[in-house]
């Protein structure tokens, strides 16, 4: 009986989202509105200072993909250094926290072990793994296992790596997330969450793309259009791309743009 219900769930998933392993066939910016490809492993990297941005981006991606329920696994180091999760804040990102299960694990060894179980659970929409520091155990072998489990069960796995350097992995995509200045509201109040996203690597697709996006909670999508014409980008709209630009070619321009943004702010 278990098997048949799992099968039904799987068929449903395929019916609603297309092929279960669509990863590579999608347009470059499909993630803006549809989230990251389901039933795959994705990596999200960020510096320690941008931890909250990376976590926020991950949550937003889950919402864009409508891949609830979520299980969020954190190592004790994450909790110690990054602070604890605040439900009210997550609700304000748009997440339904009543379906969120929070798992606290001692270190990355037990993180991988617990993740292996969760990755096989058909009932789960997304598994979010959060680790801080180098975490050398999360290597090619470990990620390959997770990827296989994700493809078999349909669970999307986001591997949130804070303060880590990218190492070879089997993930379908790798992202670097940093904080980005928001569009201020009236009376100079900070605006909606904004992120500076770079697609570092992608299985069978173009990599090195960069976006500057705002999270639109009400529509459940990332909005990249807003940064084109706002006062925020005064005069250097070319540097705040509406669509992805290859970073390799435009790195200098992008950096320049960031500098001018700082000046104008």
């Amino acid at each position: 009986m278990n098997e048949s219900s799992a099968l039904i769930a799987r068929l449903k998933r395929i019916a609603t989202t297309g092929m279960p392993t669509q990863g590579d066939g999608r347009p470059d910016d499909a993630w803006l509105t549809q989230g990251m490809a389901k039933a795959q492993l994705h990596e999200v990297f960020a510096t320690v200072d941008d931890a909250a941005s990376a976590a926020g981006f991950s949550v937003a991606s889950i919402l864009a993909a409508r891949a609830a329920p979520v299980m969020w696994m954190r190592t004790e180091a994450s909790e110690r250094q990054g602070g604890r999760l605040h439900a009210t804040g997550l609700v304000e990102m748009g997440l339904d926290v009543s379906s969120l299960v929070l798992v606290s694990v001692e270190d990355e060894t037990s993180l991988l072990r617990a993740a292996a179980d969760a990755a096989r659970c058909h009932g789960l929409g997304t598994l979010l793994m959060e680790s801080w520091g180098r975490a050398p155990k999360i290597d090619l072998t470990a990620t390959r296992r997770l990827m296989l489990a994700a493809e078999a069960s349909g669970v999307t796995i986001l591997n949130l790596r804070i303060g880590a350097e990218p190492v070879p992995s089997a993930a379908a995509s790798r992202w670097q997330v940093a904080a980005c200045r928001s569009r201020p509201l009236e009376a100079d109040a900070p605006g909606k969450p904004a992120f500076d996203i770079e697609l570092l690597r992608r299985r069978g697709g173009q990599a090195g793309l960069r976006w500057r996006v705002e999270w639109d909670r009400d529509a459940n999508i990332f909005d990249h259009t807003v940064f084109d014409q706002t006062a925020f980008a005064s005069g250097d709209s070319a540097a705040l791309p509406g669509t992805g630009i290859p970073v390799a070619a435009d790195r200098a321009v992008a950096d320049d743009a960031a500098a001018s943004v700082r000046r104008s702010g």
Binding site: A52, H86, E92, M93, V97, A114, C121, R181, A189
Partner: protein, 489 residues
């Protein structure tokens, strides 16, 4: 009874009252109140006049009954046959049950100690029949050499007759049960009624009143004994799987599923190894149970050691709940929920239940106290969270520091604004945008001296958004400190 009222309390007399025709009267009293000269039946006005400091509570017979039932449940550790003697008595049939306690006195001492821990004052007595035990426990005065004589010394009230009959007996000069027993039974029956005669015969042991034991559903427990102890854990697990199948069949007959299970492996040398598992939903799924048992074994600090082998393997369903067959046929969303619940159980069994949690909203405006993380296996029905306002940015951070982290304000703006520039974790942040203050006062009804917090949402020049607050107003203190409480996405 409200047990917590009585534990560790100073000498305030307590009374429970009941509204009857003609006013409010005392129903039950604690020791202090009795010592102060009060007695049940007195009107509350009278009692108040005599003992002004009397603390009064509404008498709740239903709660008393439930409490007694719970105590009776607890007493089933001594004997399966426990009867209620309303409103405040329990009768235990301990015939044949005392061997575990090396005698009835030890059993009574154990029971009294357990009840004393709950703040209960107990009087106990042993008797050959339930009626003598009851009468002795309730009315015994001076000690007597044996049970027969103790019964004879009881006051006539111990017969449990109505007030008129008791008064009549006293007027007739019959003060004790012995006095009454000395008279011919026929006379007693003719003068004071058939009940009186019956009670006498019960107390002298010629008629035995039955114990009306509470009907309890026995817990499901299955076991296997082995003449030749089994020395392999793997084999013991196979046995457990068989036992689980049997237990599940019994549960199915009762339309129940188990939530708490206990497997016990009795080693030939007397050691008992216990494996307890718990699921968040009632279940009859043997595969799941075995998986949880294996998880439990894996997580043991000391691995299972069969030693010379197990000669008895037992599986008990410690807690069962209703589970109809129809509930098993889950579809779609429900099936997914069930799978997540299984995962929660599995991880909880291995990592510890407190490591697998869900958020639960709490009624507090202090941010760090507004929510609670509860073990997911036992979290109550999800509480509704307040939906965010459309087109507003998040007003609360996603990461919260508890305790808040001190920051150093390098350049304050105006007295009521956020700092222009501050240092946190050795990095200097220049504030570009800010909003506030949002004033969150301390919970002054708990403590007076908690300073007010003024919160600001700020964004620095690199786009990082923080939630900071000034601890205290400038009017409250000279140099209030600044803290960083959380980080926004």
């Amino acid at each position: 009874m409200r047990p917590h009222l009585f534990v560790g309390r100073a000498e305030t007399p307590i009374a429970f009252v009941e509204s009857v025709s003609g006013g409010v009267r005392l129903k039950a009293l604690d020791r202090e109140a009795v010592r102060a000269g009060l007695e049940p039946g007195l009107t509350l006005a009278d009692a108040r006049a005599r003992v002004p400091e009397l603390e009064v509570y509404e008498h709740d017979a239903h709660a008393d009954h439930e409490w007694l039932e719970r105590l009776a449940d607890g007493c089933q550790r001594y004997t399966p046959s426990v009867a209620l003697d309303e409103p405040d008595g329990l009768i235990l049939d301990i015939a044949g049950c005392v061997h575990e306690f090396e005698g009835e006195r030890r059993l009574a001492a154990d029971l009294e100690e357990r009840l004393a821990r709950r703040g209960l004052l107990v009087r106990h007595a042993f008797g050959d029949t339930p009626d003598t035990a009851r009468a002795l426990a309730r009315y015994a005065g001076a000690p007597a050499p044996d049970e027969k004589r103790a019964v004879k010394r009881l006051p006539v009230a111990a017969l449990g007759l109505d007030v008129d009959a008791t008064t009549a007996l006293s007027r007739a000069g019959l003060k004790t049960v012995g006095d009454v027993m000395a008279r011919p039974l026929a006379t007693i029956a003719a003068r004071f009624g058939e009940d009186a005669a019956m009670m006498i015969r019960r107390l002298d042991g010629s008629v035995k009143g039955p114990i009306v034991a509470r009907r309890t559903v026995p817990r499901i427990g299955v076991e296997r004994r082995f003449a030749e102890p089994i020395a392999r854990t793997e084999y013991a697990l196979e046995i457990l799987a068989e036992l689980a199948t049997e237990a599940v069949a019994q549960l199915a007959d009762r339309h129940e599923g188990g939530r708490r299970w206990e497997a016990r492996l009795f080693r030939a040398d007397g050691l008992v190894q216990r494996l307890r598992i718990e699921t968040s939903q009632a279940t009859r799924d043997v595969t799941l149970l075995m998986r949880l048992l294996r998880e439990r074994i894996d997580s043991l600090a000391d691995p299972l050691d069969p030693g010379f082998g197990y000669d008895l393997v037992r599986l008990d369903v410690a807690l069962a709940e209703r589970l109809d067959a129809s509930q098993l046929k889950l579809e779609g969303g429900e099936a997914r929920k069930g799978e997540v619940a299984q995962l929660v159980d599995q991880l909880g069994t291995r990592l510890g239940r407190v490591r697998v949690r869900r958020f639960s909203a709490r009624d507090s405006h202090i941010p760090e106290q507004a929510e609670l993380l509860l073990p997911a296996a036992e979290a109550p029905a999800p509480t509704p969270w307040i939906a965010p306002e459309t087109s507003e940015p998040p007003l609360r951070p996603i990461y919260l520091f508890d305790p808040p982290q001190p920051i150093q304000s390098i350049m304050a703006e105006v007295p009521d604004g956020p700092p222009h520039r501050f240092r946190w974790r050795r990095t200097v942040h220049d504030v570009a945008h800010s909003e506030g203050p949002e004033r969150i006062a301390g919970e002054w009804w708990r403590r007076q001296d908690i300073p007010t917090r003024d919160y600001y949402r700020i964004e620095d020049r690199r786009g990082r958004r923080f939630w900071i607050f000034r601890h205290g107003l400038y009017s409250e203190m000279e140099a209030p400190r600044w803290y960083l409480h959380g980080i926004f996405a």
